[in-house]
């Protein structure tokens, strides 16, 4: 009877231990899935805002054209940069093109300073607010993505959750680094 009881107890302890491990793995797996979705969501938010910027530009140019007949070069620079940004295929290309678009926009806004009539136009002011807000949103979306990615990466690297991450092959995410210094300046367009 003694040996039977001991064997039973040992079995029970092992079973309980296994159960705990399984529960931990399930829990951690679910945490990782949730975190990954958050990171993806933050990433898609950047895309949403970039697309919004592309949508705003034609309206802005259209409104400004009536006031700024002698600035064709500036308009063309913005329009071309927008076309390039929209046509970019790879992430690296997109980052570069978006940077160039930001530059073109800030030059455009500098030129606007010379046209007081345009700056008094209610419609233009509204578009300007939308554009500057969109620039901010792009910056904040990047910021949020990097925050989420860092948290996700930390969990992947830390013990013991790194074991679970290894089993289900959750991989680290790259940070969204702003490549050119010029692009970093983009949100500070003078409005």
């Amino acid at each position: 009877m003694g040996i039977g009881m001991i064997a039973l107890i040992v079995l029970l302890v092992i079973a309980a231990g296994l159960l705990l491990v399984i529960l931990y793995v399930i829990g951690t797996y679910n945490v990782f899935v949730g975190l990954r979705n958050q990171v993806d969501n933050a990433w898609s938010q950047i895309d949403v805002q970039l697309k919004r910027r592309h949508d705003l530009i034609p309206n802005l140019v259209e409104t400004a054209k009536g006031y700024m007949q002698h600035e064709r070069g500036t308009f063309e620079a913005v329009t071309n940069a927008r076309a390039q940004a929209m046509g970019a295929k790879t992430v690296a290309d997109a980052a570069k093109a978006e940077g160039a678009l930001g530059d073109a926009l800030s030059k455009f806004m500098l030129v606007v300073e010379n046209y007081p009539d345009l700056k008094a136009n209610q419609n233009f002011l509204a578009l300007q607010e939308e554009l500057s807000s969109t620039e901010n949103k792009i910056a904040f979306a990047r910021q949020a993505y990097n925050d989420q990615a860092m948290f996700f990466n930390n969990r992947i690297q830390m013990f013991p959750s790194n074991i679970v991450a290894g089993i289900f092959s959750f991989t680290k995410r790259d940070f969204f680094e702003v490549s050119a210094a010029a692009e970093r300046e983009a949100p500070k367009v003078s409005f």
Binding site: E130, S132, N136, F140
Partner: protein
């Protein structure tokens, strides 16, 4: 940041438990004082009942009641594009869903956030705030409110406020009851016999003391944590905006404001606002156990002391520098993060002429459905929603405009 949220949740539960003990203890003592020793259970049940009912109400529609009581109107993007955009920016930065946006019809500059969880949150700002702050400052204030949502402070404040209300209600009812109904009960207890009289009076005295102390106790608990949360929300705002100067300068403008105090605030809702809505001239520096907010000058100095970066650790260092006391941050939340500060946006750099009070009126007109028309001669016509005619003539150049109300 996530560590901070976790610790905050745990603190909230602890505090609510302590407040619940105050409430239930009060109920039990009152029950015993009225019905003798076996009345304790009854008192306990009544106290629990009041609490459950109030909590259910606050869960289902607490934010709606609060917003209605504050005279807040829900607004869309068209009414105030800048406010709407700034809230959206901060919600993106915090990784939260877009909250509902409200404007409070009041000239006093203030703001608060409410709701059960981030999905059902609302941010409300006063028209006075919108009229005075530039974009960076507004962003700082909205960032502060967004941090309250992110740190799950909004649910805590609602629940703790309800608990405070229950305790206050119970003790008020009991104290008034003993004052007016004391005579009848004494007759009843003297009928029972002489033995119980002395014990009953002692119980009654204990109950009165507890009834007076319990609301004060709960209030102190409540205020202690709400002060801490203000610091944490300031830190969160600096982290979200990367620009502590925005909030600092907003707080400065609010502190120096001469408008009358917020009309719709009361003791329970006071901790929700970004600055204490009860102000009297020269009282901003008052810091004691009963204030819901840290002194505003100190908050400004801490924010301005953040020269190294915008992370929570930088705020904590600045806090230690300025107050010469222990940090308010939980140590485990202070992981090293390298977060650079950003520059002021152009609007703030060459700050245009102070926004006029007239703008405050315009904001409220838009909220209330006025139509704004800009005439070619530069005059802005503000047409009230009950204007019946289809056209309006400009008083300066006599151009006739069509009034098309959408």
């Amino acid at each position: 940041m996530w560590e901070l949220i976790r610790i905050n949740k745990r603190n909230s539960v602890l505090l609510l438990l302590m407040m619940a003990v105050c409430l239930l203890g009060l109920g039990a003592v009152i029950g015993m004082a009225i019905r003798g020793p076996d009345g304790g259970v009854l008192g306990l049940m009544i106290a629990t009942g009041i609490w459950v009912v109030l909590t259910l109400i606050s869960f289902s529609s607490g934010d709606q009641i609060l917003l209605a009581a504050s005279n807040a109107t829900a607004v869309t993007h068209d009414v105030h594009p800048q406010l709407f955009n700034v809230v959206e920016e901060m919600s993106i930065a915090a990784g939260l869903p877009m909250p509902k946006v409200y404007i409070i019809n009041d000239p006093a500059p203030n703001a608060f956030a409410t709701g059960r969880n981030p999905k059902s949150a609302s941010v409300a700002v006063t028209a006075g705030l919108l009229g005075r702050l530039n974009r960076d400052e507004l962003q700082g204030v909205v960032g502060h409110e967004m941090s309250h949502i992110l740190h799950r402070d909004i649910l805590f404040v609602t629940l703790a406020g309800i608990m405070l209300g229950s305790v206050a209600l119970l003790s008020q009812v009991f104290l008034r009851g003993t004052m007016y109904g004391g005579g009848s009960r004494r007759r009843f207890s003297s009928g029972e016999g002489k033995g119980g009289g002395g014990a009953a009076i002692i119980l009654l005295i204990i109950a009165i003391v507890v009834a007076i102390l319990a609301p004060i106790m709960t209030q102190l608990l409540y205020f202690a944590l709400s002060r801490r949360r203000e610091y944490l929300a300031d830190a969160g705002s600096a982290r979200l905006t990367r620009y502590p100067e925005g909030l600092a300068s907003a707080l400065e403008k609010i502190a120096n404001d001469r408008a009358p105090q917020l009309a719709s605030a009361n003791k329970v809702t006071a901790p929700m606002f970004i600055v204490n809505p009860f102000k009297k001239a020269g009282q901003w520096n008052l810091s004691d156990l009963t204030s819901t907010h840290p002194p505003i000058s100190e908050r400004i100095r801490i924010l301005r002391n953040m020269s190294q970066g915008a992370s929570l650790k930088d705020y904590s260092d600045a806090f230690v520098n300025v107050t010469k006391s222990r940090t308010v941050m939980p140590a485990s939340a202070l992981t090293k993060e390298d977060i650079a500060l950003r520059q002021a946006s152009a609007e703030a750099k060459n700050e245009q002429k102070e926004k006029q009070l007239r703008q405050v009126g315009d904001i409220m007109r838009k909220v209330n459905g006025f139509v704004f028309l800009t005439c070619a001669c530069g005059v802005t016509l503000k047409i009230p929603p009950n204007y019946a005619a289809a056209t309006v003539e400009c008083p300066r150049c006599h151009t006739v405009h069509n009034v098309n109300k959408a």
